[in-house]
Amino acid sequence: MKCQQCDKPAVFHITELESGAVRELHLCEDHARNYLNQSELNQSDGPDAGGAQESEEGSPAAGDLPGPLGVGHTAGELAILDQRACAMCGITFFEFRNQGRLGCPHDYVQFENELEPLIANIHGSAEHAGRRPSRAAVEAVKQPNQPQAPLPPQVALPAGTDELTMVIGMRREMKEAIACEDYEKARENRDAIRAIEERWSLEER
């Protein structure tokens, strides 16, 4: 897809919600930075600045000012974050932001730090207070809330049912191994999946 303002490829896909209407923008990096700088400035004018069109209040014309430090950085950071993918289902954070739906249960572990403020904002809380399945409670060990390096699939997380969710990534790996005729690896994957499924007594009867 091309940038809407020049011929470079569009790498930023922005969805704006303006008084209930949805506007989609597809921009190259340069135009995206310009756009983000502008909207950032508009916002810093105050919550009801109303965009660049209405500047009769005498506030500086937003577009003419150099962007404040940190804005480009934020966009860059977002771009890096957007490319992060779940080690199990492979969904990128960008895809999640676009669709509003997560790809698998492990996303809640993979993107824990990013989801935390979002979830707290939606629910006004980030701690489950309700029922717990008896199955998961056995495995449940309090997870320290800290940034995590992507885990190799065979490492079990001692929290909730995430160990079982690992099977999603292992199944994917197994398929890939079969596709490249690496039957040794495929067999290892299959055995590892069986081991986990048996621990959760899910083996086919």
Partner: protein, 359 residues
């Protein structure tokens, strides 16, 4: 299960019985659950979806509640049949319109329904007639407990039950009541009521769920957040506000009778008149008029109609129900003619078995 069987019966929420059933049509509790070792439905391959469907079906068949369930393969249904289940409130519009392997399991009372591969792998729904959130909650808890013994639900110690959309995470519970609030609409107080509901983070929707326009003065009130409170607290959050709304609606009805008796009597009589004599009528207009007649009956202004009859007509005049009852597919013009004929027959015709004695 044959859908034709369902056309002959009436669903739980249409029985028109239960506490406060003059205003509360039905009480519903829904739980969102996912199987831990498969991707969420939106990211699942065709094979994954088929596997999840089979896995859930086989596992649920091994527990007691599974015995009394009938499965319908939604993925292979004609569009009109899917629409029929939506009108019946047994599946959501999203489930009807989705792709791939999916099904719904329904108990004989039409109280419990399990949607497989909607937005989440499993959506358990329990619906009771009238105001009975506690009863619905107690029942769904039993269903959930039994399934949990044989299905590993995706669960996070801090964030609870994991769902495809973060708006459902935690308890995964949606508690809702469907209310008939015609007097609040006529007296133009309804917007004020809704604004105050939003302030206490309750959502208001039309009769047919997510994003639907409220028609015929029927509204669904439900909780908006699912994390940080227990299921019981969320059931109470919705349950606590219902008596207040009932009280408002009753007072508005009393006001109408006291201050504008003639006017109201005229309105409901005209509505009744159109339903009994129209030659062609849309589903929307039918719902609007049935809503007025329903209020007229409850105010004692119309004597010879039963509330349960009106509830049944509300659903049987919906497009898919009408076509199933007539046994033919009809375009919208023909449906309007057929709908008018059905209504005339019901109110005036020979099949007046449902009619009570005329005062």
């Amino acid at each position: 299960m044959k859908l034709e069987m369902l056309t002959q019966s009436i669903g739980e929420w249409l029985r028109g019985t239960g506490p406060e059933s003059d205003i509360v049509m039905s009480s519903r509790v829904r739980l969102a659950r996912n199987v831990a070792h498969y991707p969420f439905v939106g990211r699942a391959s065709e094979q994954d979806r088929a596997d999840v469907e089979r896995f859930l079906r086989e596992r649920i068949a091994t527990v007691p509640i599974g015995q009394g369930l009938e499965y319908i393969d939604v993925g292979h249904l004609e569009e009109i049949d899917r629409q029929f289940l939506v009108e019946r409130q047994l599946i959501s519009r999203e489930h009807a319109d989705a792709q791939g392997a999916r099904s719904v399991a329904i108990d004989r009372m039409e109280q419990v329904s399990l949607m497989i591969n909607e937005e989440d792998h499993l959506r358990i729904q329990c619906m009771h007639s009238g105001l009975d959130l506690r009863g619905a909650w107690e029942q769904i808890k039993v269903v959930d407990d039994q399934i949990e013994k044989v299905v590993p639900y995706a669960f996070h110690p801090r964030w609870g039950y994991l769902t495809a959309c973060p708006t459902n995470v935690g308890t995964g519970i949606r508690v809702s009541v469907m209310l008939h609030l015609p007097a609040l609409v006529i007296t133009r107080q309804i917007d004020k009521v809704f604004r105050s509901l939003h302030k206490i983070s309750l959502a208001v929707r039309g009769l047919y769920g997510e994003g639907s326009q409220a028609t015929g003065d029927f509204y669904q009130i439900s909780n908006q957040t699912t994390l940080g409170k227990t299921e019981e607290e969320l059931v109470e959050q919705v349950g606590d506000v219902v008596p207040v709304l009932i009280d408002y609606e009753r007072r508005a009805r009393e006001f109408l009778v006291r201050e504008t008796q003639q006017n109201v009597h005229d309105q409901v009589s005209r509505a009744y008149g159109i339903l009994r004599t129209a030659q062609t009528i849309s589903a929307e207009e039918t719902m609007q008029l049935l809503s007025r007649v329903r209020m007229g009956v409850l105010l004692g202004l119309i004597g010879d109609v039963k509330i349960s009859d009106i509830n049944v007509l509300l659903v049987r005049t919906q497009p898919a129900h009408l076509q199933k009852l007539r046994g033919v597919e009809l375009d919208s013009n023909d449906r309007n003619i057929e709908r008018a004929r059905y209504l005339r027959q019901h109110f005036e015709g020979d099949d007046a078995g449902a009619r009570a004695s005329i005062n």
